[in-house]
């Protein structure tokens, strides 16, 4: 497997594609030509939407039946968790939810490519990656319920907190990777972001820094086609993976609904980083089946047919087809997994409902690591104010 021969360095159908980009004169300024990624995308695929195993010259993968079942289980449980969280938002238990529906293969494939000592910098939608890192899914819900800004210790799973500001974390990942290289460690770092974030200056700066310092970082862009209501065409005029070339490192586009391809491509990029060969941009070409978050309404900005066309590429269905064809999983496996899914859903539901509001005094607790006299003063004022209610409450009770 050579990384030098990835799609970035040898685009297989590049001449046709390049000409489409190079001749904007043929189109009016008001209606720019459809960018290449919206037509038939060139991508690494190992499992077709029909569940057929195909080979790719640069990316091979050989998994046992047990490993295949493991990937399937990861995707099914992640989808079940996501569905439960969406339902909990509709029931008023969560203030907001960012669903990953449709992106399970991109997240599980890349997440399972990681080693324990690798470090992950997610956005706010990487529930499947968190699952792979061993972060308890109920911890992901605290910020969406409004009881914290992230309920886990980033260093206990090497999974950083969710980052809301778009693209910021790509720089943190790059800096962290620079530190890994300084330490002489052979671990790697992965930064997740979306097609919308690719427009952010921080992402461009992280490409620059990682290339200049040869940082062991993999940029994993889940191009789910939509940045809230804005299509990828509003973010870029070239296929996203090709951006890497201009920064001096390889980019590769992978079928983001193909868990095997996502695993193989990410693993290869991570190995490249470990070998000291620097960053890689992986563009996982996928689709966000649901809304951006529970606050928006995709029916206002995209056609039903589009969603329907992606339903046919469902990442879970295609692996199930393959497992069944191969005889790698029997009915008992699927039945047991259904039960496990329901158990998970129930556990998540109960955990969310049992989540207590934090102690109001806690807002002062971690404003500063070394303390701050102003915070101390305001804490004391707030405590006295709170205590004044306690006095009147007990006075009421005494009547």
């Amino acid at each position: 497997m050579t990384v030098e021969s990835t799609a970035a360095s040898k685009p297989r159908r590049s001449s046709k594609r390049t000409s489409a980009v190079k001749t904007p004169a043929r189109t009016s300024a008001k209606t720019p030509a459809k960018t290449p990624q919206s037509s038939e995308p060139e991508l690494v695929q190992l499992l077709t939407p029909e569940g057929e195993r195909v080979e790719h010259p640069d990316y091979e993968i050989d998994l046992t039946a047990e490993e295949l079942r493991g990937l399937y289980r990861d995707m099914v449980l992640t989808r079940r968790f996501d569905a439960e969280a969406t339902a909990l938002q509709r029931q008023g238990e969560l203030g907001l939810w960012a669903s990953l529906l449709g992106q399970e293969a991109a997240q599980i494939g890349s997440g399972r490519a990681l080693r324990d000592d690798d470090y992950v910098f997610p956005t706010y939608r990487e529930h499947g990656v968190a699952w792979c890192r061993g972060v308890d899914p109920t911890n992901l819900l605290g910020m969406f319920r409004g009881v914290n800004h992230g309920g886990w210790d980033p260093n206990s799973n090497n999974f950083h907190l969710y980052t809301i500001v778009i693209g910021s974390q790509t720089l943190h990942a790059t800096g962290y990777a620079m530190g890994v290289a300084k330490d002489g460690a052979d671990s790697a770092v992965i930064a997740y972001f979306g097609d919308g974030a690719s427009s952010q200056g921080d992402v461009a700066e992280s490409f620059t820094f990682s290339a200049v310092y040869n940082a062991p970082v993999v940029f994993f862009c889940q191009n789910n086609q939509w940045a809230i209501s804005e299509p990828t065409e509003k973010q870029t005029r070239v296929p996203l993976y090709q951006r890497a070339q201009g920064f001096g490192f390889p980019g590769v586009r992978v079928d983001g609904n193909d868990v095997l391809a996502c695993l193989a491509v990410t693993r290869s990029a991570l190995e490249r980083a470990r070998r000291g060969e620097g960053p890689t941009l992986v563009e996982a070409f996928t689709y966000r089946m649901g809304a951006h978050t529970t606050s928006d309404d995709p029916t206002k900005y995209r056609a039903d047919e589009e969603r329907a066309s992606w339903e046919a590429k469902d990442p879970i269905l295609r692996l199930r087809t393959y497992l069944e064809k191969q005889g790698s999983a029997d009915e008992a496996f699927f039945t047991a997994l259904d039960e496990e899914s329901e158990t998970l859903g129930k556990r998540v539901r109960e955990a969310v409902r049992a989540m207590p509001d934090p102690d109001p005094m806690a807002i002062f607790d971690h404003a500063y690591a070394d303390g701050n006299p102003l915070v101390d003063e305001e804490r004391a004022q707030f405590a006295a104010y709170q205590a004044s209610f306690a006095d009147s409450d007990s006075a009421e009770e005494g009547k």
């Binding site: 500001v165 910021s168 962290y176 921080d202 700066e205 820094f209 971690h366 070394d370």
Partner: protein, 326 residues
């Protein structure tokens, strides 16, 4: 060395050298900090002695400098980043405000962000646009950051030591027009806390509060007022966040009059915060309203007009007279 006379620039350089020497996790990052030693030569000679891995020339991208410093801090390093000039910090403002300031709290204290952001700031050197601003209030308003500025060589040396050792992110404003002012640095003495204000001159009739470049102006004003028989106390704030209100209160309870002086625009400036808090704390002690002297609510003017814009001796003395006239 125990006692040595050196410029603020040299004191900062010596302090950074000591930090690099003491802790292998300390890094210096920024534009031109390596071979050139920074445009003000504050990092002069450090790359030569500590290597390119410790003193890192970065791409010209301020958000990238601060953002990667955050990542390095998460990995256990203690980066000191240089923003070349005050007006160039804004591309990094997002990373500083939304990430650097909040990450410790967001992680419920489980991670620390020991990053120092050094910013040469303020006017008075005849520079072009974006090279003379005083944006300290914009940072002081953000919880999670500490904002400091030394006014003399000794503080430059020691406050930098304390900033590097702090587990909190520190915005370290360096008064660029004072870089070449010399003072005694006692390198063996143990300083007080980073946020502690210092009495730069004792007096009994009025308190002048200033920090960074304006401390010198206030000391000159106090000396001039002395000739007119007025006894002015000058308080060097040193830290704009947090602010040592106890020290100001102590002084104001003695002098009963307060004038706050800074280069930044008066409107929404740190003087407003000081005036409000001291009015609350010292209402019955004050003989006059707290007055403020500072920049106007206009873009920083072209260099030929900066002497009109910046608080000078006469404007400070005018405020002193107004306060004493109550």
């Amino acid at each position: 060395m125990a006692m040595e006379k050196m410029s603020i620039a040299k004191a900062l350089n010596e302090s950074l050298r000591k930090a690099l020497d003491t802790d292998p996790k300390v890094l210096i990052m920024g534009e031109d900090v390596g071979k050139l030693g920074g445009v003000f030569r504050i990092t002069d000679g450090l790359q030569k002695d500590f290597g390119e891995d410790r003193v890192i020339d970065t791409p010209l991208a301020e958000s990238g400098i601060v953002g990667t410093a955050i990542g390095l801090a998460l990995r256990g390093y203690r980066p000191i980043v240089e923003i070349q000039f005050d007006g160039f910090v804004f591309p990094a403002y997002d990373q500083i405000v939304t990430q650097l300031a909040k990450m410790h709290a967001r992680a419920l204290g489980k991670i620390k962000l020991p990053v120092v952001v050094r910013i040469p700031y303020g006017g008075g050197i005849g520079a072009v646009e974006h090279h003379s601003e005083s944006p300290e209030a914009l940072f002081a308003h953000v919880a999670g950051l500490k904002v400091v500025s030394p006014s003399n060589a000794s503080d430059a040396y020691w406050m930098m030591q304390q900033a590097v050792q702090s587990d909190d992110p520190i915005i370290f404003f360096e008064p660029k027009r004072r870089y070449w002012d010399k003072g005694e640095v006692e390198t063996d003495s143990i300083p007080g806390p980073l946020h502690r204000a210092a009495v730069a001159r004792t007096g009994s009739d009025l308190t002048l509060v200033a920090y960074g470049p304006m401390v010198k102006v206030c000391l000159e004003a106090a000396a001039a007022a002395q000739e007119e028989g007025k006894s002015i106390e000058v308080l060097d704030l040193r830290s704009m966040s947090p602010i040592d209100f106890d020290a100001i209160q102590t002084s104001v309870e003695k002098t009963r009059r307060l004038v706050v002086v800074h280069e930044a625009p008066v409107f929404y400036g740190s003087g407003a915060e000081i005036a409000a808090r001291i009015t609350e704390r010292c209402f019955y002690h004050l003989e006059a309203p707290v007055l403020r002297v500072g920049g106007y609510h206009v873009p920083y003017p072209p260099a030929r007009l900066e002497d009109e814009y910046l608080p000078g001796l006469d404007r400070v003395l005018d405020a002193v007279d107004r306060s004493l006239a109550y």
